[in-house]
């Protein structure tokens, strides 16, 4: 847009910003940031054609433009509406928007199961955040929820169709990031579901990114399945020299074990760089990576709990006083506790742990 020096002035929630023509209201609002940015479940700035499906980013346009100051009669999806010069948009300052968004959340949650205690996405789930911020506590729905059987997409990805909100992000990812799309949305309306046609497995180097783009827990990492909750893991920025991707990832540590590798996500929950399957699923050792430092996590996120940032530990004086000898431990926690046993590496088990994984260890002692 450098050949078009003219910028459009747009006012969102009484904050004025100048953006290039062709920018959507959502992107303009994200430039302002904070509460002004409408939530988005389906829009993904890095995927062409995404957006316009979930209706959570609805905003009220109270003044169309400088030339045509009539307000838009209905609420518009801000991810699909481009700004006009002099446009005035109301997001959180509009009663209609707040009410409509609560309705949209109720609709999204109609068929969404309340299995957050089981779901691996809990803690970093956009639908959780959305319903917490914009939804109502109750639902008026009285009927059976739509259910599907859980489905394996290839050997690394687990699809829980029951949790899907049909945002199409994963379909766009598969279409735009990989050469050949082998999964899509089948059937229509209430029966619509993400599926691979005739059990085609998705053997593609970048298909793992559908896990990161999924706003809910519909697509999850099978190598991380049920291993741990995200808020007990310590995210660390790391990189490696990978021939296929940028190699810039976030490692999720528990103790010395890498439980999960994900792409780095920005403040809107969108990945900064796509990463390949090898980095995501197979490099689960610290030696595979160069650690850069702890990942900065939003303080409001549950993931930041227990991350004592800037803590000053008192210096251990035992060794200095005892001429370099270590203090004698009266109780080794591993002799008592069955959790976090050093002889079992949960992170290296393929897929979720089962009772026999734990039994095998129990039989040893």
């Amino acid at each position: 847009m450098s050949d078009q020096p003219q910028l459009f002035k747009v006012t969102i929630d009484n904050i004025t910003i100048e953006v290039a023509p062709g920018t959507s209201i959502l992107e303009a609002a994200r430039k302002i940031g904070g509460d002004v940015a409408p939530p988005a479940m389906c829009f993904y700035s890095k995927l062409k054609g995404s957006g316009g499906k979930c209706r959570t980013c609805l905003v009220e346009v109270s003044k169309g433009s400088e030339k045509d100051p009539r307000p838009m009669p209905k609420l518009v999806a801000s991810c699909r509406t481009t700004v006009m010069d002099g446009m005035e948009v109301k997001n959180i300052t509009s009663e209609r928007v707040v009410d409509a968004r609560a309705g949209v959340v109720e609709f999204l949650l109609l068929n969404h199961p309340l299995d957050c205690p089981v779901c691996d996405q809990a803690g970093e789930c956009h639908l959780q955040d959305l319903s917490y911020d914009h939804g109502k506590a109750g639902t008026r729905y009285e009927f059976q929820r739509r259910t599907f059987k859980k489905h394996d997409l290839g050997e690394y990805i687990q699809l829980h169709m029951t949790r899907c909100i049909l945002c199409y992000r994963c379909v766009f990812t598969a279409e735009q990031l990989t050469d050949k799309r082998s999964h899509g949305v089948l059937d229509r309306g209430d029966h619509a579901e993400i599926a691979t046609y005739i059990e085609k497995s998705l053997d593609n180097d970048f298909i793992g990114n559908v896990i990161d783009v999924c706003p809910v827990g519909a697509l999850t990492d099978k190598t991380f399945r049920f291993k741990n909750r995200v808020w007990f893991l310590k995210p660390v920025d790391a990189h490696c020299s990978c021939s296929k991707c940028s190699g810039k990832v976030t490692l999720w540590y528990r103790g010395d074990e890498v439980f999960r590798v994900t792409a780095r996500k920005d403040q809107w929950g969108e990945v900064e760089d796509w990463i390949c399957n090898e980095c995501r699923f197979e490099k689960k050792k610290t030696s595979d990576w160069t650690i850069e430092g702890p990942r900065v996590i939003d303080r409001a996120s549950v993931i930041s709990q227990g991350h004592y940032v800037g803590v000053q530990k008192p210096k251990e004086t035992f060794e200095a006083v005892l001429d370099g000898r270590k203090p004698r431990l009266f109780m080794d926690i591993h002799s008592v506790s069955g959790v976090n046993r050093p002889d079992i590496n949960l992170s290296l088990i393929e897929g979720p742990a089962h009772s026999d994984d734990f039994d095998r260890v129990t039989k040893k002692d």
Binding site: D115, C116, P117, V118, A122, R225, F226, K227, N228, R229, W231, F232, V302, Q305, G306, F330, M331, I333, S335, V336, S337, G338, V339, N340, L346, G351, P352, A353, H354, S355, D356, D357, F358
Partner: protein
Amino acid sequence: MQALTQKSKPVSREPMSLMEKIYLPAVLKGMSITFSHMFKKKPTVRYPEETRPFSPVFRGLHVLNRDEEGRENCTACGLCAVACPAEAITMEAAERKEGEEHLYREEKYAARYEINMLRCIFCGLCEEACPKDAIYLSETFAPASFARKELVYAKNDLLIPNPKTEPEAFAKAKGLKPIK
């Protein structure tokens, strides 16, 4: 020196009167107070034969609950551990296999669940956080112990007896029958 309070009384240095000199009235007055307590209600109980009733909101030893079919409620969601201010709770989750449906209520369950009673402060936040009605603080004291290793409670120590296989123990744990 300035007095801190107005309550201090100066010690009387006057010589004792006759009544004070014979001591007997003061002794009798003291004894009457002592013996009057024999006829008052005893504030102590004969523990362990006798126990005081617990308040219904008493927060004691943790119990991991089962549903009416005897399946464990806990899904290892980690909310109790994240709510725990003392960081006493740790767990490891596993996926339920086929054929284990009678053991665990949901597809994910806690393969390991431990509460370190040395750390626990019995605040009850785990109970409040639990979305599955799985953990409760019962009206029992956590037993004391001389060894620290006995105070790390594993899942088997915490689980309520199975109502299907051990109905009597379950009823006792629930307090449905008087405990003799």
